[in-house]
């Protein structure tokens, strides 16, 4: 038994790969097929009754997620209608100034954070596995946890408007206005939305891992559906764009709760730091919203054109290029802040440059339509509307990217018009196109052609009636975010037209919502692949089955349903991989990143309460501090940690009943993976990239103050204790080494020594935490931004070290109770990876607190 000596995580696949045509043509006996289907049905059964809510399957969670995001959109839309009513006439007193300010703040915040980004994640969770012929996302319970966090946080944030307690400083929350704001509105924004951002990042991590590791055997990166490429790009953007905002939120809430003056100019702070951090998030955010919609168009257009997409590689390169460029444009939101001409020129040029990759993507779609035989369908009508609206918004975008022109129209209704043109054209219309296109995929019923056309023409004309005049309204001098306006500026009639248009849009959405929600039990089920698409999602069986794909196919083409004609039949017969669930477990295949060679059978998690509990307690940890109730918040945070540990302990990286299993077609795959082979390791790696970005944003903050403020640190300022900082850094470095050594020792079979490392590690970590806390204890963070920044770095490190300490103890417990052995050591790999990042964070923090200020 050679196998028992090598770590299970290092086992290699055995047998035949790739399969031959003869193998694929072999018949499957009927009784085998029936037995396999019974097993699969049992393994993937959706819980019934009230247990339904414990479901974690992507088809359920994705559906809840989509409907919840849609509901939040409707709420935000109602707020827009109220605002339009108030603006119907000059000096209208329908809605008070204070209430109006809450409405537009919440309208923008909800549309961005509760609709646009979650909608991408919701739709992707719902359909990405199907595009990839996978049975589920790699971490179903993480999806469920993310969803419940989103629901709790979203209801908390949007519900505040009903209690007249909503944030009212604009969705951008500029300090000092938002830091000085009375009431809890700003805290709701900061804590509630940070909570949701964490959930967004969790979903992004899962989607990235899904696109990289859960593709079907043979689907190399250059043949995967364009949608998966966009998921990768957008997931990566979320990973680098949200953390600067989270870092900003962190500083902001510290200022609001504890009066640490990060943005207060009278104590060395600077409101401009928030603007930079916010827009480093805010501009990529626009493309995070826009690219997934392009991705939907990239799936619809080839079907409509009856031919493969033209310029696949160009589209991929352009999407990646747009993603990169979008991080270099943020200053165009700050053209009127008095930055030097050279900066304005650079960011104007960069902002125009992003037109080119965007243009390539749009022209590639048009070229596909030209080269194909177009059959217009309802989804395509929405795509056409999207193009008409988006190109108008893009062209006004070209105008406002020219800095001097922006000096005139910045913060006017011209911008309101511009941004709604880009978001309706670049998000709403393509998403609705996607709903019409994919509805038969996930409900197995068609939406109404007639209602769909009504909805289209109402929303399309209503949109233009509402927003086209706003360009002129802005040019005639109406600023944004005003609750009313005086007579005599020539904008009264324009505002009335806009209000009429807004209600026509609302009527269109009412028709659309009715079409979605109306009962369809009397309606026949669709035929398979009603649009004649070429990608794997249309291989799903009718009537619906919960297992996703009957067997996971071997895919070698971009449009397998067009190019591999025998495939669907073979899938149905269970001729491909994982046609069975003998152990009653939910399984999917993990493949290699580039060429999708099968690596492992991944056991994915099933229904659970624990994710709901964990989300509830996490919510408490974020929501209680809004009301300055810190003890219950700490209790909730502790319970959340307990829940998450329980969830991980009981359902992840458990030693399997057998190390290898038949995956079908003569291929034997390992059932356990550790280190870079494992999806969990990838998830930690990707998460920590985001976390490191947030930390880098804090470090950027220190240097920003240093460059923008001659007195940073203030002359004669007291510094943190050098000795204690050095001690802390040494302790963290030693804890890091102990963790890494424990991994090596454990794998070498020296379990006792490994446990010693896992005892020393937490002790050293605790010592490091104590030393770093005491090193800054003499500084008063409320006096000046310099000590406040040192405290903020300390808090960040201590919070992460606490997590690192819990992880070390988790591994120690695993070792003691047989979950972690020399052969099954995935947990220790993941924890060591976390500690690589934590160790670096500790070293940099030590330098930033102990060394750098003394040299500034």
């Amino acid at each position: 038994m050679k196998q028992n000596r090598i770590p299970a995580g290092d086992l290699a696949p055995e047998g035949i790969y790739p399969p031959t045509e003869e193998m694929l043509d072999e018949p499957v006996p009927d009784e085998v097929r029936a037995r396999q289907e019974d097993n699969l049905r049992a393994a993937w059964k959706t819980p019934q009754g009230w247990r339904y809510w414990t479901a974690v399957n992507n088809s359920e969670v994705g559906l809840w997620y989509t409907l919840t995001a849609f509901f939040f959109m409707l709420m935000a839309g109602v707020m827009a209608l109220l605002m339009r009513l108030q603006l119907w006439a000059p000096e209208n007193d329908l809605i008070s100034a204070d209430r109006f300010n809450q409405l537009f703040t919440m309208h923008g915040s909800a549309m961005m954070f509760l609709f646009a980004v979650p909608m991408f994640e919701a739709i992707s969770i719902l359909i990405l596995p199907a595009f990839l012929g996978a049975r589920d996302m790699p971490f179903p319970r993480l999806s469920a946890y993310g969803y419940w966090c989103f629901l709790i946080g979203g209801v908390f944030v949007i519900g505040s408007i009903l209690f007249d307690a909503a944030p009212k400083a604009g969705w951008f929350m500029y300090p000092p206005l938002a830091t000085k704001e009375q009431g809890i509105g700003s805290d709701i924004w900061l804590l509630g939305l940070s909570f949701i951002e964490v959930a967004s990042i969790a979903a992004a991590v899962e989607l990235i891992v899904g696109a990289l590791k859960c593709r079907p055997p043979g689907m190399r990166v250059n043949v995967m559906p364009l949608y998966a490429w966009y998921v990768l790009v957008v997931g990566g953007m979320i990973l680098f764009a949200f953390p600067p905002l989270i870092a900003g939120d962190f500083l902001f809430e510290l200022e609001r709760s504890f009066d640490w003056p990060f943005f207060d100019p009278t104590r060395g702070g600077d409101p401009m730091l928030w603007q930079h951090l916010f827009w480093i998030f805010g501009h990529p955010e626009v493309y995070i919203i826009f690219l997934p919609s392009i991705a939907i168009a990239a799936m619809v257009v080839p079907t409509v054109a009856r031919r493969p997409i033209l310029g696949y590689s160009w589209i991929v390169l352009s999407a990646v290029g747009t993603g990169f460029l979008s991080f270099g444009l943020w200053v165009h939101h700050m053209f009127t802040t008095g930055l030097p001409n050279i900066s304005l020129g650079f960011f104007s040029a960069a902002s125009e440059a992003v037109v080119i990759p965007t243009g390539i993507q749009l022209f590639a779609f048009v070229a596909t339509l030209i080269a194909g035989r177009v059959v217009m369908t309802l989804p395509m009508l929405w795509i056409a509307g999207a193009l008409a609206i988006f190109t108008a918004g893009g062209l006004t975008g070209v105008m406002v990217a020219i800095a001097p022109f922006d000096w005139q129209v910045h913060d006017t209704y011209f911008i309101v018009a511009h941004l709604h043109y880009t978001l309706f054209g670049g998000m709403i219309f393509p998403v609705i196109a996607g709903v019409y296109y994919f509805f038969p995929f996930f409900r197995k019923k068609m939406l109404s052609e007639r209602l769909g056309r009504w909805a289209f023409w109402l929303i399309f004309t209503g949109f233009n009636i509402c927003f086209l005049p706003m360009h002129l309204t802005g040019l005639l001098g109406m600023p944004r975010r005003v609750y009313t306006y005086p007579e005599g500026l020539g904008i009264d009639w324009l505002n009335q037209i806009s209000t009429v248009g807004a209600f026509i849009i609302a009527a269109g959405f009412a028709v659309f919502a009715w079409d979605i929600l109306r009962p369809k039990s009397g309606q026949p089920q669709i035929e398979r692949n009603p649009w004649g698409g070429g990608t794997l999602e249309w291989s799903h069986e009718i009537p619906e089955t919960k297992w996703g794909v009957r067997s996971i196919p071997y895919v070698t083409t971009r449009y397998p349903l067009w190019d591999q004609p025998k495939m669907v039949d073979r899938m149905d017969r269970g001729r491909y991989y994982l046609p069975d669930a003998e152990e009653g477990l939910r399984e999917t295949i993990v493949t290699s990143v580039i060429d999708a060679r099968p690596l492992q059978v991944q056991r994915v998690t099933g229904p659970a309460y624990i994710t709901i509990l964990a989300a509830g307690f996490t919510g408490g940890a974020f929501i209680f501090p809004t009301f300055h109730l810190y003890p219950p918040a700490i209790v909730c945070a502790a319970f959340a940690v307990v829940c998450i540990c329980y969830w991980l302990w009981t359902s992840t990286a458990r030693p399997p009943e057998a190390d290898m299993k038949e995956a079908g077609l003569g291929l034997r795959l390992p059932t356990y993976a550790a280190g870079p082979q494992a999806v969990g390791w990838w998830a930690v790696w990707i998460t920590m990239l985001g976390d490191a970005t947030a930390f880098a944003s804090l470090v950027f903050g220190v240097f920003f103050y240093w460059t923008s403020n001659a007195a940073f640190p203030p002359p004669g300022a007291e510094h943190a204790s050098g000795t204690l900082v050095a001690l802390a850094t040494a302790a963290f470095a030693a804890a890091w080494l102990a963790t890494r050594a424990a991994r090596g020792l454990n794998r070498a079979g020296r379990v006792g020594a490994a446990r010693a490392g896992l005892v020393a590690g937490p002790l050293l970590t605790a010592a490091g935490m104590a030393a770093i806390i005491f090193s800054v204890l003499d500084l008063d963070p409320t006096t000046h931004v310099y000590p406040a920044m040192m405290w903020a770095l300390m808090v960040w490190l201590v919070a992460h070290a606490s997590a690192g300490l819990i992880m070390q103890l988790y591994c120690l417990a695993g070792s003691l109770f047989g979950k972690l052995t020399p052969r099954y050591d995935a947990d220790l790999w993941n924890v060591t990876l976390f500690w690589h990042f934590l160790g670096l964070t500790a070293l940099v923090t030590g330098a930033m607190i102990g060394l750098v200020p003394r040299m500034m």
Binding site: L177, T336, I356, I360, T391, Q408
Partner: protein
């Protein structure tokens, strides 16, 4: 950037108004159609900056309309007019030409044109230097004179035509943005730092400016009047503005003055030449001669003053000034008459 850097400025040097004033704008028709006075319009320029930016707008608008028609026309053709399959070779070239070459050339040209005007619009001023401080929700305005003295006023800007005036912008509490669309672009005002901009008005007249950065509850009512004057008239006005307040005329105004002090108004407001030296609210020395009251909120009739003093929060939600609703109509009328007489 501090005012001392501008010490060499020796007051306004008159210069002939440029061609803009008389020019017929394509927009004039549109503006008339809109029944608008164009007092706050980007499209009815009254200065060098707004004129140059207006030209830029019209050029870009024409280009944008043509491109929109081209792109959507192509789409319409491909999906409706001629949905049959066309040459893939042609389609490939379309991506190269339409997606790469064409935008590179046009955007390059637009950047050269658009960015080349920027240095002129940020040229050093040769006219008066005016310090404007944003408050919630009004404007503190200080003219720096050649002799080093300053003239303080509020909620109104007066500028000589034909020279570039310099604005040193600051803020007391939150971020505001200073914007007179008829004269040119906007510039944000930050607490704790001074931003600078210059404007070159050309056509005399009264225009409306407004805060463009959301600044709290009554952001909508933070406006001001900007009057562009002939240089000589501007000099005369500044001289008059520098003078102390004129004494009240008539018994009612006298009574109003007494009430003004009895109610403690001088604790917040300054009326130069009287014991009222408060610096919290706007300077009222010549408030009666302004175009508007309370930062563009009301007119300057006696009734307007009375309405405002009785209940500022009704006109400007969240305003710091307390309501004087306990005063009788007679008393309010007296105070209003006094203030209206401060010309």
């Amino acid at each position: 950037m501090t005012a001392s850097l501008r010490a060499e400025t020796t007051g306004p040097r008159p210069r002939a108004p440029r061609r803009a004033a008389a020019r017929l704008w394509p927009l004039a028709a549109l503006a008339l159609l809109a029944g608008c006075e164009g007092r706050q319009s980007v499209l009815v320029p009254a200065g060098e900056d707004s004129r140059v930016l207006g030209d830029l707008f019209w050029v870009m608008l024409v280009g944008a309309v043509l491109l929109w028609i081209g792109m959507n026309g192509l789409f319409y053709w491909a999906t409706r007019r001629s949905p049959a399959a066309h040459s893939q070779y042609l389609a490939n070239w379309l991506v190269i030409l339409g997606g790469i070459l064409f935008p590179t050339v046009t955007l390059g040209a637009l950047l050269v044109y658009g960015l080349s005007i920027m240095p002129d619009l940020r040229a050093t001023g040769d006219g008066p230097v005016i310090r404007v401080t944003g408050e919630q929700w009004w404007w503190r305005v200080e003219y720096e004179r050649a002799d080093g003295s300053t003239v303080t006023t509020a909620n109104e800007i007066r500028l000589p035509a034909g020279v570039r005036s310099t604005f040193l912008l600051d803020s007391k509490e939150v971020i505001h943005s200073f914007w007179v669309p008829s004269l040119g672009g906007k510039m944000d005002m930050f607490p704790g730092r001074v931003t600078e901009m210059t404007l070159g008005p050309e056509r005399p007249g009264v225009y409306r400016g407004q805060c463009a950065e959301f600044c709290g509850e009554s952001h909508a009512w933070m406006a001001f009047e900007a009057e562009v004057m002939e240089p000589a008239a501007f000099e005369a006005w500044l001289e008059a503005e520098a003078a102390e307040a004129r004494p009240p005329e008539g018994a009612l105004a006298e009574r109003g003055r007494a009430l003004f002090f009895a109610q403690g108004c001088g604790g917040c407001h300054a009326v130069r030449g009287t014991p009222a030296v408060g610096q919290v609210g706007p300077d009222l020395t010549h408030v009666g001669s302004r175009h508007s009251l309370a930062a563009g909120r009301l007119g300057t009739s006696v009734e307007d003053f009375a309405k405002w003093v009785a209940n500022p929060g009704a006109w400007k939600p969240g305003a710091e000034m307390p309501a004087y609703a306990h005063l009788t109509d007679d008393q309010l009328g007296a105070i209003a008459t006094y203030l209206e007489g401060l010309e």
